[in-house]
Amino acid sequence: MNFAQALASGLLTGFVYALIAAGLTLIFGVMEIVNFAHGEFLMLSMYLSYFFHASLHLDPLVALPLNALALFALGVIVYFALIRRVLKAPMLAQVFATFGLGVFLQNLAQFFWRPDFRTLGDTWVSGKRIAPFGVFVGGPQLAAAIGAVVTTWLLWWLLARTSIGRALLATAEDKQAAALMGIDPDRMFALAWGIGAACVGVAGALLSTFHYVFPQVGSQFALIAFVAVALGGFGSVLGAFAGGIAIGVVESLAGVFIQPALKNLFVFAIYVLVVLVRPRGLLGKQ
């Protein structure tokens, strides 16, 4: 029973990690840039849910498409205002451009909205709970997990089954060849940033039903997402999904059966062990 409960809790968290990681890995796959401001995108989306709920009484699950749209716009703006200017710069300059953006956004949030911890209060799913076979599953967590799975599936469908997705993948494969085929890499890059940010926008809305919001909320999620992306293999959406779930489950099992204070140690250790065996992650091209 303990094991089933730990596994269930781990899976529920893992799906949300997976969605955050999916957005990160998409951007990387298309243009080999790691977005170190990813956690701050998540934070902004959570604030968005909070303000929708507090001032317009919009349930975060209803407002979810708005979050996705707003974050899509943010991603595109960030691409044109910042990322395009460092495309040809060394990898480290790119890292610090996005890192600087993260510091900037996080503290701007604190400047405007103060460091208070905010929670949404009553939403459609809060306070509900199911307990099949004695395993407790919270409504918000269940909704978040389902939302995360659906969104990740949509992303995969978009990439694999639509012409936009094929253009994105072609750009990821070979910029020059894609350009010869009439695909504008600039537009594809902007699109990747838009979609990557939209994914984390959805994740933010889903999280906001049960997780408090404050300016630093993104940091820990982002760190886990980095590890999930690397664990799954940079650029692989399915890899990020597998990585996110693996981390959620390892974290939960280690916390219950080994030592709670050490649970993150096991998450990081699993990453190190996996890449020692498979240097490009679980599903990366070896």
Partner: protein, 324 residues
């Protein structure tokens, strides 16, 4: 890479700079400007040590805090449990860091690019969690060093001048090692590995051995900085000597200054430390973190306009000066 600029000759610039740094605590008597200079030198040392591994050998480490912590904890534990002088602790810390570096480098150097960088983040977090739960090393409570018992032998001083000259000496050591290795065979091999590892290997460069050399030297110098920090602040705990933010800051200093150049980390430290101090003095008291808003914006500006670091700006300025 040796900058043979027609501008301000390197020697003259170095001599001028060295004189200014050495004379600093004699001119500025207040502990605060002295403290800022010590922080600049400490960051310059950390950036220089990172640079050997990240700038010259091209292996991006975001886990330098492991080595910093190794130095800080080794010397402090030796002092607490066996009353061993921090000078011996400094050497012992460097040795411990080298052992850890080889244990990390051995397996992890098979990873490339981002996979290596994330692995160093993961190892850094593992180290922080492990020490937090390690009672012998003070765990989460940390370790205090006694305030009394000052003197050169104890690497503990009543006023900041002593600390200033100790950190100067460590920085000179790091720079000397960098200059020496850069001109020696190691420097050529490192550059070859950084540009194209596969090509370097097929040209007969023993890549793994030279990468291990780079991480060992980088680790040893970083550990010395850690010992110095422990003696300077007299209190260490995991959040102050093992956090991810420290690893990132170390990398930031070198990269914003100019990775792979001798002057880069010095320039990076000389700009970033006063910048962060000034924004926090001018804007930090408000409780609204405007200082960090400005700091983040400036990092973006530098990344966009001087992507290879402030050293490029410096070269252009010195070229202009000499042309006039």
């Amino acid at each position: 890479m040796r900058p043979r600029t027609s501008g301000l000759s390197l020697q003259a610039a170095v001599a001028l700079l060295a004189a200014a740094v050495l004379g600093w605590p004699l001119i500025f008597r207040g502990p605060y400007p002295q403290h800022i200079m010590i922080l600049i030198l400490l960051n310059a040392l950390l950036g220089t040590a990172w640079n050997i591994l990240g700038g010259f050998a091209g292996q991006i480490s975001l886990g330098q805090a492991i080595f910093f912590g190794a130095g800080a904890y080794t010397s402090t534990l030796l002092a607490q449990h066996a009353e061993i002088s921090p000078w011996i602790g400094l050497v012992a810390g460097a040795l411990v860091a080298i052992v850890i570096a080889i244990a990390i480098g051995g397996p992890c150097f098979r990873l490339s690019g981002h996979y290596f960088a994330i692995a160093t983040i993961a190892l850094g977090e593992i180290a922080a969690i492990a020490v937090t739960n390690w009672d012998y090393a003070g765990g989460a409570v940390g370790l205090f060093l006694p305030v009394e018992g000052t003197g050169l032998a104890q690497m503990k001083f009543d006023d900041k001048r002593g600390y200033h000259y100790v950190i100067c000496a460590l920085l000179v050591l790091a720079l000397a090692v960098t200059v020496w290795l850069r001109g020696a065979r190691a420097g050529y091999y490192w550059r070859a590995i950084r540009e194209d590892q596969a090509a370097a290997r097929s040209a007969g460069v023993p890549a793994t051995r030279y990468k291990l050399l780079a991480i060992s030297i980088s680790a040893a110098l970083t550990a010395m900085a850690g010992t110095f920090y422990a003696q300077y602040v007299l209190f260490i705990d995991p959040p102050s000597v093992l956090p991810l933010s420290l690893s990132i800051q170390i990398c930031l200093v070198a990269v914003l200054g100019g990775a792979g150049t001798l002057l880069g980390p010095l320039l990076g430290a000389a700009v970033l430390v006063p910048l962060s101090a000034a924004t926090s003095v001018l804007l930090g008291g408000s409780g609204r973190s405007l200082d960090l808003v400005v700091y983040g914006a400036l990092i973006m500006v530098i990344a966009v306009f001087e992507p290879s670091g402030l050293v490029g700006l410096w070269r252009r300025i010195s070229a202009t000066v000499s042309r006039n």
